[in-house]
Amino acid sequence: MNEVVSFFSTTLRLATPTLLAALGIVFSERAGVVNIGTEGMMLVGALSGVIGSYVTGNVWLGTLIAIVVTVLFAAIFGFFTVVVKADQTVIGTGMNLLASGLTITVNRALFGASTSPPEIDKFVIAPIPGLSKIPVIGPIFFNHHILVYLAFLLVPIAHFVMFRTNVGLKVRSVGENPKACDTVGIRVGMTRFLSILYSGILAGIAGSFVSMGMLSFFTEGMIAGGGFIALAAVVFGNYTPRGVMFSSLVFGASNALMYRLQALATNVPSQFPLMIPYVITIVSLCIVSRRSNKPLGSGKPYIKE
């Protein structure tokens, strides 16, 4: 029984950073921006969160600082891709490199190279009074960090914004056909820039959840591919918030399963359990693949005559 419980609650926990980041990317992707740089943004968020929490002694202020810093970082990405109209993928790759270099440099400058990580205020499990007491359901759904609840609450909101509001329509259209948007008076560049900043906000939160929720410290390169997984989650989720939630959960579950198997089958070479999440993703992708919502203008800068 509590096997099941721990499996599902682990799933939710592991799905959260992917979901947070992906909920940001889904908007920038819809706006026609391919953000390979998410990995770097999360890394920046992870470090700045820890620094913030260390300085202010408050994990929430830390997260706030993480958001601000990551948004600034995202603004660089926006500047190069939207204003300068440079190639998004190259810039994204560059941003990842920049992030790994900067985080290492700053982290060592502040806390030294090989010393113990600083004591920081971290997110604590926040059981929802009452609900968390319900057997099975409670521990699975209502016994998590606040950011876990937040991430999942954000899904319907994001869905509403994307498909019911004027802003959402603009974002979706700018990615499909920027020229058409231009002809109806939409500021294509502005729209894209803002959605990049927005994805920065969420990447920042996602990063600080990794460094202050799932862990309580920063180590070099700790995102370890999480950004790319989030990117995959968006494509896998077919560019909708709901879909993104689904795919994040698939990733979460297959990772939970992987750890489970690693623990159970300690005699099997570790590499095989480690492959499971990726295999599962490919397989389920082949099963569920349908008409893609990939924006037509995706990845292309909009250049006027």
Partner: protein, 309 residues
């Protein structure tokens, strides 16, 4: 010009200004292998040498690194990973009067000396202590990237645990990398849910994840390097330290004295490279501590042999 290479050696250093370089495959912030290697370099600096290093150096760049250092007049070059062996042997030929030290390698050419860190002994001590501490007779070892030190550490761990308690249950897995502390932590939690009550990480910086898991799940943890305990104030028992810095210093001294043995220098408990750190918890029975010290002596004295394949 060499002025910019900011010579840190004080003017009245004992010998002529020796220049010592260290080429690291990983990051000096990994709280273990590379970190202690870097400490070693610092110790050597303390002996009056001018030092230089490169981190995160991929095999593909090792040759360039060697050439760069050698052509900049470095006298001694340490290579911190067995991945570098082939490249080093190749490139060393180009610089006959530079002395090379390879860690965990079998090469002993004219200007190459190798020393083998006894990672297995560290694992053995961790395993033994874990077995001594375990209440439900189930201990867990979590490695990172399955490279040589980690694999041997794992082998040592099993034999160490069995040594004190032949019918102990052992769980041992590698997370596949040193960066992903989350993966290490989640795996550790799974171990605990399987009944493991003593966790032993050997995954560089990712080890922190394991320590934290122990703290959260209220089991014990044995560190594999300094600074890992801070995230687990209640869980951390002690760290079995593999202080390669001592190895480096020893190697350098032997170079200064100009008497370097042909054969591969083993670096383990005997050389004081692998030792038991100071206990973080005071509720560890003296009896256990004695047993462990005894094991360490046996390892040092070579009375315990660890099988590596």
């Amino acid at each position: 010009d060499k002025k910019d290479s900011g010579s840190a050696s004080d003017p009245d250093a004992p010998k002529k200004d020796v220049k010592v370089a260290l080429i690291l495959e990983g990051s000096i912030a990994d709280m273990s292998w590379n970190a202690t290697a870097y400490e070693g370099l610092k110790r050597i600096e303390g002996l009056g040498a001018t030092i230089g290093h490169t981190e995160n150096t991929p095999v593909a760049s090792a040759a360039d690194a060697i050439r760069a250092f050698a052509s900049d007049g470095y006298d001694v070059i340490f290579m911190s990973s067995n991945s570098f062996q082939d490249v080093a042997v190749e490139t060393a030929k180009e610089f006959p009067d530079v002395q090379f030290f390879l860690i965990n390698s079998a090469a002993t050419e004219s200007n190459i000396r190798s020393f083998a860190i006894q990672d297995a002994e560290q694992g053995f001590l961790m395993g033994a202590l874990a077995a001594l501490l375990s209440v439900n007779n189930k201990v867990g070892f979590i490695g990172g990237l399955p490279i040589n030190p980690i694999i041997n550490g794992g082998k040592g761990f099993e034999q160490g645990a069995k040594y004190v308690n032949p019918d102990i249950e052992i769980m041992s897995q590698n997370t596949g990398n040193f960066d992903d502390a989350v993966a290490a932590k989640e795996l550790a939690k799974q171990f605990v849910s399987e009944g493991v009550d003593v966790l032993c990480p050997m995954a560089n910086q990712a080890s922190l994840g394991v320590m934290e898991a122990a703290e959260e799940t209220g089991v014990l943890a044995i560190g594999s390097g300094r600074n890992q305990e801070t995230v687990a104030p209640n869980a951390a028992v002690v760290a079995i330290i593999k202080d390669t810095s001592i190895a480096y210093e020893a190697a350098y001294k032997s170079y200064l004295e100009g008497k370097m043995p042909e054969e591969i220098l083993p670096m383990g408990a005997a050389q004081g490279v692998i030792y038991i750190g100071e206990y973080y918890k005071d509720d560890i029975s003296q009896d256990i501590k004695d047993k462990l010290n005894d094991i360490q002596q046996k390892l040092a004295a070579g009375e315990i042999k660890i099988k590596l394949d």
